[in-house]
Every structure is written in structure tokens, then in C-alpha cells.
Amino acid sequence: MVGDDGGLTQAERQTLMFNHGAILLTLGRRMLLASHCVVLAHSALDERDDEVVG
């Protein structure tokens, strides 16, 4: 789940974390374009997935 340029509100964070068990992660200290976050997340997951499978 990624937010827009305004990020997520505190209420949204709480909803996601407490009601849906979301894990809060960061990709770094700079705010990235949402679509770039998706690419980076997919890349990390693909890499880890390949390690687990391999």
C-alpha cells in the first residue's frame, strides 16, 4: 500500500495497522514517486522469493 504525495493520514495508518495488520516499512529517507515504490517493492520481493525458492 502506498500513499499519494500527501502521504497517509494518522487515521489511515491506524486503520491499516490495527484492522488489517499492515507492516509499516520504508524504502529510504526520500519520498519517492508512488509507482517507483511499487517497482522497488516488487524487486525486493522477487529477489527474496527467488532466494527462498532457490
Binding site: V2, D4, G7, T15, N19, L25, A34, H42, A44, L45
Partner: protein, 202 residues
Amino acid sequence: MCHHVTPHARAGLFSPANLLQGRVDVWCRCVTAGLYLSDAIRTNSTVHLVLQSDDLASCRLVSVDGATVEGLAPAERTVALLLQRAMQHASLDELPTLAREAPGRRRKEKASSVDDDDDDANNEGKSMRNAERRRRGWLAGQPGSRGPVPGIAVSDHHSLERALAWAMRGCGAVTLLDMEGDDAETVLGRVSFFLFPYGQLE
């Protein structure tokens, strides 16, 4: 998750030639980034666009399923056209009204659009039946009238909570990318994290 999405954009009333307006380009890029590999589509992934209104009173969920979506191409414009058709189809009833109130509407467009048909009918004595016929004609020319897009589901919810519950049904794990979170690399390194099917991560 997008905030302050106008009713017009939510109904697919945006121009594929100007995707910066309403930042529709970001929606399209997210769909492309979430579903595309170099020469294939991630069939185990679904991209959900959570579009919230200004007053947070309603929430539209647009879900693009990599396994079933048809007609998708990496070009932003292609994605925008598919999203537009799907979103318009879900709002066909209110489309003419929204189009009439669309911001930044030019006078040139007025003449050819359905929007002023009611006025025309009053001013020029045209019948309401005529106006209704034109309204239907205008609507028939909109992309949304061509039917839903296979693989793109659009649903409206009264709250964000309901939209999220709908989007995340069946999900094993949810990660929220936020600058205040833990380092992704560290957390993603936990093998236990992958006990969940990551294709369902949103």
C-alpha cells in the same frame, strides 16, 4: 491510495491527453509498475487504486487484476483509456450531470456536449424529448458505454474501511510503505514474511 480525487476524475471524466490533471498519470504508472515485467504481466498481482473524495465520505476502488485484465499495454495512455472506460461504465447514470459541472470546460466544448441541451431546449424551444435523445447520444459516445473492461473491477464504498476490507479480502500480508516505517530491506529479509503469498501484497 489517493486523496482529494474529484467526482469527475472518479467517474472517468479526465482527458487521456492531459493525464497530469488530477495526477491520473500516477494511477497509470502504478498500474504499469505493479503488473508489468519486461515481456509479461504479473498474473499473481492485483493493483488496487483507492480513490478518496475530498470529504472522505465515499471511496472508489479500482482493481486491476493481472490474471484477467485484457487490452493492457505499458503505455500510460493505453492504461488511462482502460481505466477511463471502466470508471465511466461504473458511473454511467451520473456521467451527464458530472460532465455538465466539469471544471475548466471550454465554451467550444459546450456547443457539442450534452451539457447544455437542457438550456438549449428552454431557450430555443426544443422539446425535452429532443434533449434527452441528445443526452443519450452523447452518453453512447463515451468510452464507458462500451461496457466494462475485463479484469478491471470498480466498486464504490461508503468508507475507506469498507474499501480496504474489500480490497484486502484473502490477503495474507499487507505492507504499508511509509517514511516512518522500518527499513524495508531488513524486514523483507525475514523468511517468515514469505510464508504469505506475496502476490497478494497490496
